[in-house]
């Protein structure tokens, strides 16, 4: 697991705890985001949390052509933005 993937999963757990949500186990690359256990507000909180942790928010910095639907797509967006930093 890459460092970035670890950070994202750690932040997901934090948001889940705060939202009283349970994350599914395990989260695979093909797991649908909306089936991970977080809802859309949870993802908005996740993006805000990751902005704190990583110092960037790819959803405002990049023109998102396709909204991510799987965990792998979500990770790829962060990876792309991290490479551009």
């Amino acid at each position: 697991m890459t460092n970035l993937e670890q950070q994202i999963k750690h932040a997901m757990q934090q948001v889940a705890d705060l939202s009283d949500c349970a994350l599914v186990e395990p989260i695979e690359p093909t797991t649908l985001l909306l089936e991970c256990g977080l809802d859309s507000l949870g993802y908005a909180m996740l993006v805000a949390q990751l902005e704190e942790d990583l110092g960037f928010d790819p959803f405002t910095e990049l023109q998102i052509d396709i909204y991510p639907s799987t965990f792998a797509e979500f990770l790829a967006i962060y990876q792309q933005c991290a490479n551009n930093q």
Binding site: L34, S40, L41, Y43, A48, F59, Q63, D65, Y67
Partner: protein, 438 residues
């Protein structure tokens, strides 16, 4: 102005409503509405507090009571019913018995009453504010055409709210079908919409982003796409027009208080600057010196708004706008109200909860821009003792979880040295709003 019932009767064909796994024809609901009036003549010219059970019953009541009762209050669940002689509908068992024994007034069914429709917006203190609308103003943008009649609309908003009611009325008055998916999760919504061959959706930009995140939105054959309830940003508009290049893409600016709706269909965020001088619109628009959007509709607005109406008759919408490259762009609410995915958050309410912590001396709540939810809630606090900030934040969040709805809870709490006030001593909220959008 014809009543809802009269307009439905004039349609060449009425649609079908699908809700909670059931379907029923609007023509059946028209019959049920007639039965309600026949069985409850005491309701004629009465003021009705309409509670929500399910979509078919709600629509039946609207058909029965518009043009027949003096007022319909669309009551969200758990909202206090306004004071006055209101009759709760559906009638409780006892009330039904009591009412049935009352002397029945004499009336002619042809006497159409100008019904006032009241809708609630949640107020700063949690007390709802009620605004009246006429059926004419509510249906000003509803249209009928053969093409619209063949549509199937998805209802993704609660129907007793302004945006949801607009979808219900548009579907009813165009003879289209309507499928209720307001209370479902996005993946279930998509499955329902596919199953019912939905061709028209009206949703908030945040909800559209959720539907985009399912990865299955493209399976639908959408012909009408409407965004409303929040500021529509260019990114979500671009995504939708790419996915459905042939669909009619519109984003709507609506003000519940004034009953005004503006429809923008050029695929660009905001609205054209030329609209500020246009005489072709059903509402005159201007921007005040304080960058507030002012509107002057061609129908009478609710009296509650007289305090925010200028001498020329323009009503202050309290929406802050900026003019950029020939567009008028929406920035946010002058009241400081935060819009989290279409849900209103009153900063004062959150601040009160934060201030309950003995260690918090000042609190200021403001929006943070979010690409997924439009805005999120952020709080700055000053504390008396900052020895263990993490523990303090955890305690505050636990308190927030106990007292606030999830979308109201700050996603970030900053411990700061001081909080800016304006010269009158009030918290300076405008500063944060501007910073967020610069």
């Amino acid at each position: 102005m014809q009543s809802l019932l009269q307009q439905l009767k004039n349609l060449p064909k009425t649609g079908v409503i699908t809700y909670e796994g059931e379907s029923c024809a609007v023509s059946e609901l028209i019959q049920k509405a007639a039965e309600i009036k026949h069985q409850n003549p005491q309701l004629y010219q009465g003021d009705i507090a309409l509670g929500y059970t399910h979509l078919a019953e709600f629509v039946t009541a609207l058909i029965a009571f518009d043009g027949w009762c003096s007022a319909i209050y669309l009551c969200p669940p758990n909202v206090a019913i306004p004071q006055g002689e209101l009759i709760k509908w559906p009638l409780s068992g006892d009330a039904a018995m009591d009412d049935a024994t009352k002397k029945q007034p004499v009336f002619s069914s042809s006497e159409v009453v100008q019904t006032k429709w009241y809708m609630a917006t949640s107020g700063t203190t949690g007390e709802p504010k009620w605004y009246s609308h006429s059926f004419e103003s509510l249906t000003a943008s509803s249209k009928y055409s053969e093409q619209l009649q063949s549509m199937c609309w998805a209802l993704l908003y609660q129907p007793f709210r302004f945006a949801g009611l607009q979808v219900v009325l548009q579907a009813l008055l165009s003879g289209a079908n309507l499928v209720d998916a307001a209370e479902n999760e996005p993946l279930v919504q998509i499955a329902l919409l596919k199953q019912n061959k939905t061709t028209a959706i009206s949703a908030t930009p945040s909800l559209w982003r959720q539907l985009l995140m399912t990865g299955q939105l493209g399976d639908l054959k959408l012909q009408y796409i409407t965004l409303g309830g929040e500021i529509a940003d260019q990114s979500v508009l671009d995504n939708l027009s790419r996915l459905f290049p042939k669909a009619k893409l519109r984003h709507i600016y609506a003000s519940t208080e004034t009953g005004v709706g503006l429809v923008v269909s050029d695929g660009l965020a905001g609205f054209p600057l030329t609209w500020l001088e246009s005489l072709a619109l059903p509402v005159a628009l201007k921007v005040s010196d304080t960058q507030h959007l002012m509107v002057k509709p061609n129908f009478k607005v609710c009296q509650t708004l007289s305090a925010q109406t200028d001498p020329q008759g323009f009503v202050d919408t309290l929406d802050i706008v900026e003019i950029k490259e020939h567009r008028v762009l929406f920035i946010g609410r002058a009241t400081g109200t935060i819009n989290v995915g279409g849900n209103k958050v009153y900063p004062e309410k959150v601040e009160q909860v934060l201030m309950q912590s003995a260690n918090v001396s000042q609190a200021k709540v403001y929006p943070k821009k979010s690409a997924l939810m439009g805005e999120l809630v952020v709080a700055d606090i000053t504390v008396l003792n900052a020895d263990d900030p993490q523990q303090l934040k955890t305690q505050i969040l636990i308190n927030c979880k106990n007292q606030l709805q999830r979308f109201e809870i700050p996603t970030k709490i900053n411990i700061v040295n001081n909080i800016a006030h304006d010269p009158s001593g009030k918290l300076n909220r405008k500063l944060n709003r501007k910073q967020q959008h610069d």
